[in-house]
Amino acid sequence: MKSRYVVASAALVALLSACGVIRGDDEGGKGAQAAGVTSEPCPTAVDKKKGCIYLGTVSDLTAGPFAALAVPITDAQKAFWARVNKAGGIGGRYEVDVTKFVRDNKYNPEVHRQVYNEMKDQVLGLAQTLGSPTTAAILGDLKANSVVAAPASWTSAWEFEDVILETGANYCVEAMNSVDYAMEAYKPKSVMAVHLAGDYGADAAAGAKIAAERNGLTFTGVETPSGATEQGRAITEITKNKPDLVILTTGPADAATIVGQAAAAGFKGRFIGTGPTWNPALLKSPAAPALKALYEQSAPGRPWDSDTPGHRAMREALPGVTPNDGYTSGWAWAYPMKAALEKMVASGDISRKGLLAAVKSLRTVDYEGMLPPEAGNFAGDPDAATFRQTLVNKVDDKALTGVTTVKDFFVGPTAKGHTFDGPCYAKL
C-alpha cells in the first residue's frame, strides 16, 4: 500500500515538474538575476564596477561551408562590443561579453541546437546565430523563451519573427532591386535565376520572379547544387536559353565557374549575384576577365572601404586584418542589438522580456552611416518594417574587397510596391 503512495507522489512531482509548476531555475523570481546578466564584471571588463551582459554566438567556425565568412563576422562582433565597452558600455551600468559563449555549429542544425541548449541558460540573447536552417532549428525555443538573436543570414523569413534582429534587406528584396536596376541599365527581356535550394537561393529566385512578372520579362528558375564541379547543367541552361539577365544566388566558387564557363562558351548576357556570390580571391581566378565584363554584385550594405563613421570605426577596431566584407556584415549586424540593450537598460526591465520589448519598440537604429537608420525598424507589422534598400557593386581590382559601389542604396519599384505577407521562398 505504502509503495503505491510513493509511486503516486513521485508521479505527481514528475507531472508538476513537467508542467513547470516546480522549477529550480525561476528566472523571473523575486530578487533573481535575469539569465545572462550578472552584477559581477565581465571576464575582460574595462570597468570592474559595471555588471555584465552575456551574449552567445553560434557560428560556423571550423568545418562548415561558411567558415570563410563566419570567422570574420565573429571577429568583427568581438571588436564591435569591445569598442562599446571601452566607450562606457550599455547605459553606463553594464558591459557586454561576446567571448565567453562562442560555439561552433559546423553548419549542422543538430549541432546548432545542441550548443545553443548548452549555453541558453547563461546568455541573455544571441549576438549571432549563423545560417537559416540552423537558426530554424532553435527558433521555437528562441520564441518560447523570448531570446532575442541577431542572425547571420538575410532570408525574408526573419521579417516575420519578433525575436530575430535582422539587419539589411533580405535576399528577396535584393533580387527584386537587382532586376529593377537591370531594367534601367540593360533593358533585358528575359531573366533566369540560377540558385541554390533552400531559403538562401530560393528566396532570391522568388524575388527575381516577382520582379520579372512586374516588368513583363520571361522568367526561368534553375536550381543548382552547390559545388563548382556541379555547375554543368546551370551553364548548359544559360548557354542554351541565352537569357539577357542572370540572377545568381550561389557560393563564390560556383558563381565564378558559371560566369567564367558561360562567357567562354560565348554567352554575352549580364549576371547580377547576391552578396555571398563574391569573394575578392575571384580576381585571381581564370574567371576574372568574365566577371569584370559581365558580373555585378548586389549587396545589403556598403563594402569594407566605404567612407562612413561606422566603416572607419570598424577598420580602426580591426587593424591588420585582410579586408573582407564578412567583417563589414558582422559589425553592422551588431548595431540593432546595441540599440535594443540600451533601450532595455534605460527601461529598467533587464530581462529577456525587457529586451524583446525594447526590440519591438525600435523604429530606427543608428548604424553610424553604414545603413540608413530606418533599416533598424522592428516595430509594427512586417510589411511596413521590411527594409527595401540595397546597392549594386561592380568588380574593381583596386578596391580592397574587389568591389566598388555603382549604385548606392536604392529601392526599385517592385520592392516598393510589394506586400510582404510571408517568406518569399515559400512562393517560388
Binding site: T62, A68, G227, G232, R233, G260, A264, A281, S285, P286
Partner: protein
C-alpha cells in the same frame, strides 16, 4: 550531334579525375582489403599543395612536387595509423581512415584559408577547336594525363619487380610472404601510389574553378566508380570513373529536356543510380572478381 560530343568530352574529362581517385581506392583495397576513406583529404591536400607550390616553382614542377609530397604524407599515415592495425578487422581500419580523413582535412583547411585558392594551372577556361567541336583545354589535359598515368601504372604492375610483388600480395598475402615478398612494403607502396594519384586528381579538380574547404566532397564520387568497376579491378576503376563522368555529364545536359519529371538536379545522384543498377545486375561490379563462397 556537336553538343552531344562536347558533352561527352566534358564527361570523359571529369570522369578521368574520378578514375584517378578510384584507382587510389582500388590499389589500397587490393593490397590491404581496406577501403581508405582518407582519399578525399589526400586529394584536397594535393590541390592545396599545388596551389602554394605553384607560386614558387611554377605549375608543372609544383604538380610533381605536390604528388611526391602527398605520397609522403600517405606513407606516413600508413606507417603511423594503419600498419599497427595489421591483423585487426578491416572494418576497424576503415573507421581509422575516416578519422585520418578528418584530421588531414582540418590541417589542410588552415592552408586554404577563407578565400577560394587557385592552383595556377595554364588552362583556365580556355577552349580549343577540335574540328567543329569547341572544348575546354582542361578536359583534354585531364584525359591525356590520366591516360599516361594509367599506362605507366599498368606497366609498373606488369613489368616491375615491385609491381609483381604487389600483385602477388594482393592475390594471397601469406603465400607472397612465404616467397619473400615484403607485405609491409606492399602496403606502404599502395598508400604512396594512392596519395600521388589523389594529388594529381586534386590538382585537376582545382583547374579553372579553384579550391575551397568543401572541395573534398568531389572525391566521394569515386566510391560509385569503384563499385561500378569492381572493387578489386584496376581496369574497372578506370572504366567506372569514366562511366560515372559521362553519365553525369549527359544528365546535366539532357535530363532537363528529355526527363524533366526527374526533378532539376537529378545529375547529382546519377553516379549512385548507376551504382545501384550495376549492383543489381553484377553484384561484384563490371570487372570485379566473383567471390565463391561455400555455404
Amino acid at each position: 550531334m556537336k553538343a552531344l560530343l562536347e558533352t561527352l568530352i566534358r564527361g570523359l574529362g571529369n570522369g578521368s579525375v574520378y578514375a584517378l581517385l578510384a584507382l587510389g581506392f582500388v590499389i589500397i583495397y587490393k593490397a590491404t582489403r581496406v577501403i581508405s576513406f582518407a582519399q578525399p583529404a589526400l586529394m584536397l591536400a594535393g590541390a592545396v599543395a599545388v596551389s602554394h607550390l605553384a607560386e614558387v616553382t611554377g605549375f608543372y614542377t609544383a604538380v610533381l612536387l605536390a604528388g611526391l609530397l602527398i605520397a609522403g604524407v600517405a606513407l606516413a599515415v600508413e606507417r603511423i595509423a594503419i600498419r599497427p592495425m595489421v591483423g585487426r578487422p578491416v572494418f576497424v581500419v576503415a573507421i581509422i581512415t575516416l578519422g585520418v580523413d578528418i584530421v588531414v582535412r582540418v590541417v589542410v583547411n588552415a592552408f586554404i584559408g577563407r578565400d577560394v585558392r587557385q592552383v595556377g594551372d595554364p588552362w583556365g577556361f580556355d577552349q580549343v577547336a577540335l574540328g567543329p567541336l569547341v572544348v575546354q583545354q582542361r578536359w583534354l589535359a585531364m584525359l591525356a594525363v590520366t591516360a599516361v598515368l594509367v599506362g605507366l601504372l599498368f606497366a609498373f604492375f606488369r613489368y616491375t619487380r615491385y609491381g609483381l610483388a604487389m600483385r602477388a600480395a594482393a592475390f594471397d598475402q601469406e603465400t607472397a610472404l612465404a616467397q619473400g615478398v615484403s607485405v609491409g612494403m606492399v602496403f606502404a607502396l599502395s598508400w604512396g601510389l594512392a596519395g600521388f594519384l589523389a594529388a594529381v586528381a586534386g590538382m585537376f579538380v582545382g583547374t579553372g574553378q579553384g579550391i575551397e574547404q568543401g572541395t573534398w566532397v568531389i572525391a566521394l564520387k569515386a566510391l560509385p566508380a569503384i563499385i561500378v568497376g569492381g572493387l578489386d579491378s584496376l581496369g574497372g576503376a578506370v572504366a567506372g570513373g569514366l562511366v560515372v563522368g559521362v553519365v553525369e555529364s549527359l544528365f546535366q545536359s539532357y535530363q532537363g529536356e528529355y526527363a524533366p519529371w526527374l526533378g532539376q538536379n537529378f545529375a547529382v545522384v546519377t553516379p549512385y543510380v548507376v551504382m545501384l543498377v550495376v549492383l543489381l545486375v553484377r553484384p561484384y561490379g563490371l570487372f570485379g572478381t566473383r567471390e565463391v563462397e561455400r555455404v
